[in-house]
Symmetry: C2
Subunit: 220 residues, 2 copies
DNA sequence: ATTTAATTTTAGGTAAACCTAAATATTTTA
DNA sequence: TAAAATATTTAGGTTTACCTAAAATTAAAT
């Protein structure tokens, strides 16, 4: 199996396993990779033979230790390149994903490690997602969803749960970026929206928006 | 035809055309790409249909205008990434080729152009090779071979004609890099070697070495 | 100008990653 | 628990980039 294709499968399975504890389902993998389910079945057999996944027919698949390692290497590269694109080349966080999707497949340990040093060993990417270290260790963060916060809480935006450009552009427009502090002034029971204060401005965030915002304590 | 494969063919043909004015021969392309001649014949037919080359059976092929454009885009990306790897990540000029060989295929105009700006629009790569501009224009340089220089000439190293790591490492060892000034103290008729003075040191360069060194006038 | 040698193309085949559609297995609903 | 719905796998087929070996062409050497 061709490395780039293997990598895309392994990464997709990794991401799906984070949502469904059970594992990744054939149809979901097919959707993620934009191929047909039959193709996925074939590929799963190969990935299993190669030792990257644990696979029993008709059951959701999980990554093996070897598969996890590979997934974390790809995610490390993806996120480091995203930092590069934003910090060094000045791209917006809504523009970088397709480029990182290609750059992540370039597999030279020296390149990754030197890039890491060049970027000052960042711990998170421009979307607030943590970057695995050289050994594939992923610092687990304890982010809360904005909708889980209580009235009058004062929090800081640390991540997002939706990476669509349109969502990122909306956040830009609202002046919401990583590190932005916000105070919850009011929670509207009717539609779940909330009134927040950011800097000097106050405005409403729809539930759909706040559901996709992750926050941490506003320790200063 | 898959973009990466097309790009490797087009680049190989471009390079071969620089040597043989006639064009690129099937066998030479096969050698450059490490495939069999039969495979090249097939591919040439496709590249011709796609309009990247001018192809008559049993004749050496040349790039069309469209093919040249593509070649220069790839070469631009290759050389810009090489500058990045050396200037920003601190790699040696003997280590970067395989990485650039992969990076050159990442095709986002914005990425290339911003990288160019980030690197201060370099005009040459770490090997002294000129970098095509955004419009594919390649400033043609007028380098002379060191062996073509005369006794007591004072010149500056501006390029090389051999990119093998072992050659680059030898130059490192001798303290010869781009911009190094050298004075030709003596030319030995017997083996074509020359005695050169670099800084305070003097030593002999074999003909094999000096044949692969390109120099320009030592204007200061 | 032949014959020989070298080069290139063509013909026929393989393997990988995809597809569609039929068959099978699992899960849900009645 | 049997039928219906959903999910997955399998079977058979396509395309692309590769291969080998034979055939055809071109170039070189008698
Ligand atoms: Mn990818
Ligand atoms: Mn990201
Ligand atoms: Mn390449
Ligand atoms: Mn170079």
């Amino acid at each position: 199996m061709q490395p780039r294709i293997r990598e895309n499968y392994v990464k997709a399975i990794y991401k799906l396993c984070q949502k469904n504890k059970e594992g990744a389902y054939t149809n979901d993998i097919a959707l993620a990779l934009q191929v047909k389910a039959g193709t996925v079945s074939e590929s799963l057999k190969k990935l299993s033979e190669e030792g990257f996944i644990v696979y029993y027919k008709h059951r959701a698949v999980k990554l093996s230790a070897k598969g996890q390692q590979l997934a974390l290497r790809i995610i490390r590269r993806h996120r480091l390149w995203e930092v590069f694109l934003v910090e060094k080349l000045g791209f917006g966080w809504d523009e970088i994903h397709p480029m990182a999707e290609e750059l992540e497949h370039i597999d030279f340990d020296q390149l990754t490690d030197r890039l890491d040093v060049f970027l000052d060993k960042p711990s998170v990417d421009p979307h607030g997602d943590p970057i695995p270290d050289k050994n594939g260790k992923l610092s687990k963060v304890n982010y809360r969803n904005l909708t889980a916060c209580s009235l009058h809480e004062y929090v800081s935006m640390v991540g997002i749960e939706n990476h669509q450009p349109s969502f990122l552009q909306l956040l830009d427009q609202l002046g919401l970026r990583l590190g932005t502090k916000l105070l919850i002034k009011e929670i509207i029971p009717f539609d779940g929206s909330m009134l927040v204060k950011i800097g000097k401005k106050e405005f409403y965030l729809s539930k759909t928006v706040s559901e996709n915002i992750l926050v941490g304590p506003h320790k200063e």
